[in-house]
Amino acid sequence: MKKDSTPASAARRAFLAKLGGAATCAGAVAGAATLGVIPAVSAPAAGGSFPTKDYDWTKHKWGFGVDATKCIGCLRCVEACKRENDVPANAHQFRTWVERYVHLEGDAAVHIDSQQDPVNIEASGSEKTYRFANRYKDAKVDKAFFVPKLCNQCTHPACVQVCPVGATYKTEDGVVLIDHDYCIGCRYCVQACPYGARYFNEEKGVSDKCTWCYHRITKGLEPACVEVCPVGARIFGDQNDKQSPVSLFIRNNRVQVLRPESGNAPNVFYVGIDKEVN
């Protein structure tokens, strides 16, 4: 896929240019606020917009749903995410991944793997493309299912709590972002996340994680993983809109979240996962 030839990427570049301008303005505002020139505000003033002039983050509350009963483990989401978000092309760092749970007949233990498993990497033949190896073809499978994972954009994110410089923060519309120009690369956030959602980008020297494709959703697009999912296992939308796919998904299903006991209050809602999934 040639990213630069698509209209979407042209639009993305335009968006990023705007984002850069907005970040500069935000920096200037923050600097002025620090110096006491103007009163500090945590959210844009009424009628204002952020992060671009066409988008107001106070008007949205993004949510993500995962219907594990639909996921077929094709891993298109993982590959799309890697390309869309410039995630290092290796088998050890991901913004999103898919887990496979297999119960074999007569075996009490559940077998869990993901695309990074050496057997699966061998099957794909590359660390840049992903597939699940057909490793259970000769076994008698009692039950098996896939579970897509990504950042839970928690309401009480442990990663935000521990960041010593506030480089990672919660937006008004419910997404946890990282300011790569401010992150010091201590990796405390990587340790604090109970879901293993964060990784450290060695080349950039900063932490990174899923943003639900913030650069896309603030333009009215879907996250890349949602867009490429062929079976609709990933559901995204605005929870403020009662008719959005995610609102309907939450309303029409008995949903659950991962590790509710952590107190993080995750915002990725699951249907069809089993007791072993955490």
Binding site: I112, Q115, K149, C163, P164, G166, Y182, Y195, G205, S207
Partner: protein
Amino acid sequence: MEPVIHFAPYTGWVYPNETVFEWSVLIAVYPYLTGLVAGAFTVSSLYQVFGFERLKPVAHLALLTSLCFMVFVPTPLLLHLGHPERAFNSTLTPHWTSAMAMFGYFASFYVALLIVEAWFAYRPFIVEQAQQRTDLLGRFYRLLTLGSYDLSPHAMGYDKKWIFALAVTGIPAAHGLHGYVGFMYGSLKSREWWSSDLMPVIFLFSAIISGVALLVVLYVASCKLRKITVDAACVKGLAYTIWAFIMVAIVLEALAFANLVYKGREGIEVIMEYVTGPLLVPYFLLQFAIGMIAPLLWLSYMIWRGTTGRALVTGVTLCALLVLFSVFMMRWNVVIGGQEISKTGKGLLAYHMPFFGKEGALVAIILTLAPLAMLFGLTRLFPPWADGAAHAHA
């Protein structure tokens, strides 16, 4: 070209991103150094504040040791950061909910306190040198007097009050600094191995024993180098201190482990698999049996038998070396061990420490020994020995 990513082999089920170890041996060296700072300062305070006269021969050495190690405490962190040039952001624009953000303040305050206390403690010596020397060093000492040459009994009394006040303030500062390091791990709910309320206290007591043990080794080594007799009473005083604190350290760690096992929360099976497997040698054998129980028994034996002289000095020094090793293993087992147990509670990873490289064993060894080189230099400029001329505050 060396690969950027060093991924870790694993067994069971681990999250894909966990296959890269993010906190290396340097993050184990960091609490080790802060622990030595806090422990050495404890010895200094036992003399300055609580009047343990038998510790007088090491009181100033303790202060200098604390200062030298404190200077190097930030170095493993700076080497570890992805953007060390942004390190001061955590102090300039701290994020108040972060345990880590406080480090800059704690560390700066404590370094300042140590420098001021050392200045007061060495003022008579500095003044004496400033007045006697005419060379370049004389100019250095004259600069250090800050214009104050008054060594009258009144001025000395005033200095003593300051030393006392700084030492008293330094106790909570040093112990706060280290307890807070423990809190950085204990407060994380993502890892069962770290998430313990006892973690700060465990760090604190292991810090104290490591600092006292370091002083035993430094004191005995300095006596050998200077070809003077080791003060057995002082060594015995330090041995008592190690004995008292090591007992508490063992009990606390045993209690924390018992709590973990007894509660048996999610993932305990993997933790048990870990401690009875890969961690058996580093944890039970090296850290506990050889590093803590053996010195405790040996020290108890020497106290019981009233051992003195050369046998006492040799015994306590060997015990101190074991304790120093044990406390490093404790830091290792917490920092590296915590990451070897997957957050999934269903898998184990294996950390392989590179020898070379920014975060390899060689750098870790250099960073641990560098404060000793600095101490060697500082003892030339500011002799901490109590046996020579009365150059420092008694």
